[in-house]
């Protein structure tokens, strides 16, 4: 921020726009070709010429009303974009939005204790050190409000500390910027984005009315990772055909080799190649005979600082998972078996079966036995529960005290990591809570959604099947049959030799002699485990530290005057020609 005696500029970088005056003046003199005018005689004009030189620069300049207007317009416009502020007109309350990245890679522990913990601490600090209005958002797949604008900064700081990272991937740079752009309607003075995504391409003129600060967490380095795999057995069912997506986060070509590691631990080289540029490369491997095993990537250590994301496990899927549905016979939930053939659905009545399914979906509250399984309960938002269709949960979950879910206090709601959580809002419901409870050493997910899938108002909603699929995939993420997993996926019980972690992040493999595995880092963007060094704030971002209110800033008036001048010039020009 540039400070004068009475006036300062929030975006002093925009003052460089005054350099436009040079070309404008130059172009003006280039473009002003003389008009030919016949006159009776040049005699008098020659005398005039001998007395004064009307072609001198100053004389021409003096004559140029249009030019003067243009110069004035540019100066005013530049001043306006530089956003002058002064103590005599800066009086309102400023606003700040803090966006915390809850994507999976934030769990990385390359900085201690973890990227997320550091970001959390910083977010809380930003809340407590601010006297205006603060809002808190989380960014995973999308931007989610956690706390809307409030003056209670301490409350927001506490909400920050309750956030937990999920296993979602941070969207690409363009989408992040689009999401940020959506916040423009809130007219924030400052936005702080706390993330580990280093490749946000922010233009200098991005959201010029808002000071945007990006703070990144993590170490600088280089990395090569397997970020995706498309595997299929051939017709004989013996050989596996593999197409890998390999990410190189290096600016120089990197030579790598890909090998197959069988269950006996022996490595057999599959292919060697060079990744010529930074980005994701598609690699087709020759078919080889195996039912299960790990594909291992090998790259020079100086180009591959994170070894945890270099392995990809695949396995024959085996049995289908089973899901119990507790709903009336005409419920939309019973249409799921047709839509999801990879899952075995069973309708459960009032009595819970002895042969427990892997997960349960139900309308209303559920029997106590359901607590032993991953469950999702759809609770009607309004009205009473219907006898006979709603089964009693013989427990004291705090949510069950409420029939009107709009009255549920915020403290009961926990920001979820459910994939596609915005889908709940898109079908006019709300995610009441999502929690993981540990029972007999097993971690079990429970999801409560305030929505009735059978309600006439949501019938035919395009998002209902997608929502149901996402919920099931979330509940069955341990057992969902997949051919391949990145190393560290909870499905890799054989590799893990014990309960696998369910949350995304970097974990030490039990008995792995200090080897660390990446868990659920399923998106290419999340393989950027080693982001670049901290960004240097631009002038726009620096403006955010001014701690000012803009409501009474004169920049709009200055800009308006500039526009009026331009119109006046246009009017004069039209009249003259």
């Amino acid at each position: 921020m540039l400070r004068g005696r009475g006036v300062s500029f929030l975006n002093p970088g925009f003052l460089a726009g005054l350099l436009l005056l040079g070309p404008v003046i130059a172009l003006y003199f280039l473009k002003t070709r003389p008009r030919t005018r016949p006159v009776p005689s040049n005699a008098i004009w020659r005398i005039v010429l001998s007395r004064v030189n009307p072609n001198s620069f100053l004389q021409r300049f003096h004559n140029s009303l249009f030019l003067l207007l243009q110069i004035l317009s540019i100066v005013l416009a530049v001043l306006a974009t530089a956003r002058p502020i002064g103590s005599f007109w800066s009086s309102g309350q400023s606003s700040r939005i803090i966006i915390l990245d809850v994507s999976a890679s934030m769990q990385a522990v390359d900085v201690k204790p973890s990227r997320f913990s550091m970001a959390q601490k910083r977010a809380a600090e930003l809340c407590r050190n601010f006297s205006g209005r603060v809002a808190l958002y989380s960014i995973g797949h999308s931007l989610m409000p956690v706390v809307r604008y409030t003056d209670a900064t301490e409350g927001v700081a506490n909400a920050v500390m309750k956030l937990i990272p999920g296993h979602q991937a941070t969207p690409g740079s363009d989408r992040v910027l689009r999401l940020l752009r959506d916040l423009e309607g809130l007219s924030p003075d400052e936005i702080f984005l706390l993330t580990d995504t280093p490749d946000l391409q922010i233009r200098r003129d991005f959201m010029p009315q808002t000071a945007l600060t990006v703070e990144t967490f993590g170490r600088e380095g280089a990395n090569v990772a397997i970020v995706g795999a498309d595997l299929a057995f051939d017709e004989s069912g013996k050989n596996v055909e593999v197409t890998l997506s390999v990410l190189s986060d290096n600016f120089v070509p990197v030579e790598i080799s890909l090998s197959f590691q069988g269950e006996d631990g022996r490595l057999s080289r599959l292919q060697s190649l060079t990744l010529p540029y930074q980005g994701v490369h598609s690699v087709d491997l020759p078919a080889f005979a195996a039912k299960r095993g790990t594909i291992v990537l090998d790259a020079p250590p100086e180009r591959n600082l994170s070894l945890a994301d270099d392995r990809w496990y695949f396995s024959d899927p085996g049995l289908k998972p089973s899901v119990g549905i507790m709903a009336p016979s005409d419920s939309a939930l019973l249409r799921l078996p047709k839509a999801l053939p990879l899952i075995s659905f069973t309708r459960i009545g009032a009595a819970f079966p002895a042969d427990l399914p892997d997960a349960v979906l139900g309308l209303g509250s559920l029997p106590i036995e359901a607590r032993k399984l991953p469950t999702c309960a759809f609770l009607p938002g309004q009205g009473s529960l219907q006898p006979g269709e709603i089964l009693p949960w013989e427990a004291d979950h705090p949510l069950l005290k409420f029939a009107n879910w709009d009255a549920v206090p915020v403290k009961c709601m926990k920001p979820g990591t459910l994939p596609g959580t915005p889908l709940v809002e898109s079908v006019e419901g709300s995610l009441l809570s999502e929690e993981v409870v540990t029972l007999d050493g097993r971690q079990i997910s429970h999801v409560w959604v305030a929505m009735d899938p059978d309600h006439p108002s949501v019938q035919g909603n395009f998002f209902i099947p997608i929502l149901l699929f996402n919920i099931l995939e979330h509940l069955l993420r341990d057992k969902f049959p997949r051919l391949s997993y990145p190393v560290g996926n909870p499905g890799l019980a054989a590799l893990w030799k014990g309960p696998a972690p369910t949350a995304a992040g970097l974990f030490e493999i039990p008995g792995g002699k200090g080897n660390i595995a990446a868990v659920n880092l399923e998106a290419p963007s999340e393989a950027h485990l080693t982001p670049a060094s901290s960004r240097t704030p631009t002038s726009t971002q620096l403006a955010g530290h001014a701690g000012r209110a803009q409501e009474n800033s004169p920049w709009k008036g200055v800009l308006s005057v500039g526009m009026v001048l331009l119109l006046a010039e246009w009017f004069l020009f039209m009249r003259r020609n």
Binding site: P34, R37, V39, V52, R60, H62, N63
Partner: protein, 291 residues
């Protein structure tokens, strides 16, 4: 048609009055410096042998006992020459300076012929060309106007002094000259005027200008093309330049006016946008004309 009949009738009330008497060629209505046979007594002259005995004033002889003869004024015509500038620079303005000037020329000719003066109209640009033969009858005005209507301003100004020399060769008899021009001749103009004054011509200089010449409607960068020699002047016109132009023009006009007054000539500025009738009346008031 340059004029309508009604206007012609109003011109009958005007006549050209000169400061001094000029010798004429024909019998006219103007008193000549020559003594002649009109009814108006001029002076007495002592009788000398050989004088006409018919003019001896016998009454005076009876009183003074000396012989005197009576002399009478002679009445002759006035030689009125109208020099009309037909250079291309006269074709500017709306109406053009040339249209304005030839109207004045026609009016002067008409007034002259009304009083049985001899009127000749000359056009001058590259040289001197008589537009019509000298007229001295009222009926000659139609012929003169016919010639005037056929004349156009397409010539290119050359030496005004040569024009005057040519004019003086053709007009050995002094008279009244009406010079209708925009005065764009440079120093040559003064030399020519000097020669007219030297030959005792009573010169009325009618400076025809357009309002655009007094207050040019120019702004910004312009390239001015001289209508006669096609020379170009490039300049950026602004308020300062326009002020200076007006100043130079005023100085030029003042210099011309001072010169003319010093030489006993008359200067009259006529703007093309003024009412023609009032211009004419002003001209005759200024040049000694009388209603």
């Amino acid at each position: 048609m340059l004029f309508d009949i009604k206007f012609f009738k109003s011109l009958k009330l005007l006549s050209i009055i000169t400061k001094r008497h000029f010798r004429g060629e024909k019998i006219g209505h103007r008193r000549s410096p020559n003594r002649g046979a009109s009814a108006e007594f001029a002076e007495y002259k002592e009788y000398l042998p050989g004088d006409d005995l018919r003019f001896i004033d016998w009454n005076l002889y009876a009183r003074l006992d000396r012989l005197y003869i009576k002399k009478f004024h002679n009445e002759e015509d006035l030689n009125v020459s109208i020099l009309l500038d037909t250079s291309q620079s006269m074709s500017f303005g709306n109406p053009t300076k040339f249209d304005h000037a030839r109207k004045i020329a026609a009016a002067i000719a008409y007034i002259a012929l009304q009083h049985r003066d001899t009127a000749r109209i000359y056009s001058f640009a590259q040289g001197l060309n008589p537009i019509s033969e000298g007229g001295f009858r009222r009926g000659h005005i139609h012929r003169m106007m016919g010639f005037l209507e056929k004349t156009s301003a397409v010539g290119r100004s050359q030496s005004f002094e040569e024009v005057v020399s040519h004019f003086l060769l053709k007009n050995t008899r002094a008279g009244v000259v009406f010079l209708l021009t925009d005065a764009l001749f440079g120093e040559d103009l003064f030399a020519g005027l000097k020669r007219l004054a030297h030959r005792k011509f009573e010169t009325n200089f009618v400076h025809v200008l357009t309002p655009e010449e007094l207050n040019p409607d120019l702004a910004g960068p312009v390239e001015l093309v001289d209508s006669e020699d096609q020379s170009k002047v490039s300049l950026t016109v602004n308020k300062t330049v326009l002020t200076l132009y007006e100043e130079v023009l005023r100085e030029t006009v003042d210099e011309l006016r001072t010169f003319l007054i010093r030489k006993g000539m008359r200067y009259h500025q006529s703007l093309t946008n003024t009412q023609f009738e009032s211009t004419l009346l002003k001209l005759f008031e200024c040049s000694g004309g009388a209603a």
